[in-house]
């Protein structure tokens, strides 16, 4: 089967990593002819993912000249290039509802949402995505293929190392700059604990973590280093608010760590409160800290959760199994008739109208602000304003401006509301 995966680039990210894993396994194990089609001009050299050598990597122009059995968009922006390719079947590999990454009212949010209205088949990695899609696009074919785990890297111990009489070893990982990762909130909760603990924060940029907030700040780490860290930890603590498949606690499970998490999308794929982890509420610093304290105190419970976490990991698929489901999914998509051309048309029309209304509102607001700003703009064009500007920069005038600052602040505050 000739398969094309459309990507923006081959830079290191979880989403791209998943696509490359599937592509590699499809080529190596299932004998598919797989091409990674990069839809953008590339500014940086690609990350050296394992197995790239087994894949073709083409630009969009080269790919246009070829025919594919199945073409797969892997990120909302790539959906806009999907129909540029000549293919028998078009697929959207949905790793999250990507419109949620953008602010309300932003153009990207509307554009990302509208990619879900096209007559394509879907493959998704999380049950909650499949269920949500079934509600908004009940007629759209959607196949479920969970991400595998590299069990050579996240290689489970033969038996659990039981730890007693030590501080609870906690790992918090994520990008502290990304609001929905909840890294700072998680650190705040650990700080509110009463029992002895040892906190390791894993982040790409240690400078974003307040000094003294953690016992150890490490990162960025390779997968192998992450596996090692999880192996010496008791708990993976996550308070994310948006996740697709929610991989980190599962990786921790493989290495014998349990988790304490908020009920973020994707958590219920494998986390069961009181069985292999604990689920706490968002914005409940006290409650979450008490949950961690409980694990620090009750080592029997901690061992029970860790044992079951390891058990859960055991039944999670490898990448080999995951790619077999992907191969079967693509085979089914190729075998079944394509979705009708009008599939999603009603939703597309509704979303277009919504985008139009949003745009109209934005334009109206812009015109209103322009009208309000008109006197100020006119003032700025006068010679007197230019003179005032020069005076503002003049060194001798600085003491005067310093004295006038409270007054100018008040005026500015009045003008800007």
């Amino acid at each position: 089967m000739k398969v094309a995966f459309l990507l923006n680039d081959l830079q290191l990210s979880g989403g791209v990593g998943v696509v490359v894993q599937h592509a590699r396994e499809l080529a190596l194990r299932h004998g598919h002819d797989v091409t990674l089609v990069l839809v953008r001009e590339q500014e940086a050299a690609p990350w050296e993912f394992d197995g790239l050598a087994h894949l073709h990597v083409d630009g969009l122009d080269d790919a246009r000249a070829r025919h594919f059995d199945v073409a797969i968009a892997t990120w909302w922006e790539t959906v806009y290039s999907l129909f540029e390719l000549d293919a028998d079947r078009y697929v959207h590999f949905l790793q999250s509802f990507e419109d949620r990454f953008y602010d309300r009212g932003s153009a990207e949010r509307s554009a990302a949402a509208m990619t879900l209205d096209l007559p394509v088949s879907y493959v998704t990695e999380a049950a909650w995505i499949a269920e949500t899609l079934a509600r908004v696009r009940p007629e759209a074919p959607c196949l479920y293929v969970r991400n595998g785990i590299d069990k050579d890297v996240f290689s489970s111990p033969a038996s659990l190392e039981v730890r007693v009489g030590e501080p609870l070893r906690i790992v918090v990982e994520g990008n502290p700059d990304v609001w929905f990762k909840g890294v700072h909130e998680a650190i705040g909760v650990v700080r509110a604990m009463r029992e002895p603990r040892h906190l390791t924060v894993v982040t790409g940029d240690a400078s974003k973590i307040e000094p003294g907030a953690a016992d150890r700040v490490v990162g960025p780490l390779t997968h192998r280093q992450m596996a090692e860290l999880y192996g010496e930890s008791d708990v993976v603590f996550k308070l994310s608010r948006v996740e697709g498949m929610f991989g980190p606690p599962l990786e921790g499970f493989h290495m014998g760590a349990t988790c304490v998490v908020a009920p973020v999308t994707g958590y219920d794929e494998y986390i069961e409160h009181g069985w292999n982890g604990l689920v706490v509420d968002w914005d409940d610093v006290g409650g979450s800290a008490r949950a961690l304290d409980l694990l620090a105190r009750d080592r029997r419970l901690l061992t029970f959760l860790r044992t079951n976490a390891l058990e859960t990991a055991r039944s999670w698929p490898t990448w080999e199994q995951s790619s077999t489901f992907m191969a079967a999914a693509l085979e089914k998509i190729r075998r079944d008739p394509p979705p009708p051309a009008y599939a999603g048309a009603r939703q597309l029309a509704a979303d277009s109208l919504l985008a139009l209304d949003t745009q109209r509102l934005t334009m109206h607001e812009r015109d209103e602000y322009r009208r309000l700003a008109k006197p100020a703009l006119r003032l700025k064009r006068t010679g007197a304003w230019r003179v005032l500007g020069r005076l503002r920069e003049h060194p001798r005038m600085q003491p005067v401006w310093t004295r006038l600052r409270p007054l100018t602040r008040r005026v500015r505050s009045k003008l800007t509301g």
Binding site: H30, Y144, S315, T324
Partner: protein, 292 residues
Amino acid sequence: MHDRSERITEHTHPSIAAEHRLRYALAAPAIRASARWCDLGCGTGLSAAAALGGVYEGTALLVDREQELADRAATAVDAHQTVAIAADLSTAAGVERVRAALADGTGPLCVTCLETIPHLSDFAPLVALLAERAGEPEHTVVLSVPNDAFWALESPHHRTAWSEGAVAELRTLLPADHVVLHQVSVQGSAILRAGESADAQAPIALSPGVPSHVLLAFGAGAAQLGSGSPAAVVVQADVEAQRREARQRASDLLHLETTVQTLERRLAATPAAPPASDEDGSSDAPAASGHA
């Protein structure tokens, strides 16, 4: 010693044999109603034969990776006609062989594929073959997979892991109108006069719970499967055999642990071997130039 290869033999633990037989018993009405029956991964055929209970009037196509086993199944299953073929169902070629064999006949067909998928490293071609059957009139497919979360031990014979999530993945590959059945484990006890044999009947109160296996059926006869009273089978536990097996396991473990300790002690007492000398010129270490 207990056969741990997962093939059902005369020596298989009674509860395991009963559990296998029950799956075939569920499919038995659909098999009997079909002119052809194809059993993928038939093994010894003992469970199927016991579940069918008598002569099957149609043609049985028995498929296993090993021709010897398929032949053995052909002798175990009492059918009007039996065809035994060897096919590696984890390969496209093996599945193609089955497809060709199925294309040979006509009439209603029942395909059973019970506990076979977990043994395959690549099940995509087989799942495609099974799903294809749904498009054919009067074809019924019954398949099953275990729920690994239920079992305390990892099966060394399984190439893939099966859980609620994997079943959810599999279900998206099957026709939308497929039927899902949960096989659950039952336990109990009975009292009878010493030295007597008897058949006992007892109502079993069943409620949703963690399944030990999941059965999926689709095609013409799928709706009838499990539509009446739940199928159940209870067998008397062979307490003596269980005790023997448990004791054997414990003594094996003790024996192996002692053997390991003895070997470790011997290893520790062995003087370290001197480093290999290159005086005889046999060393293949690189020369100072770095070239070997």
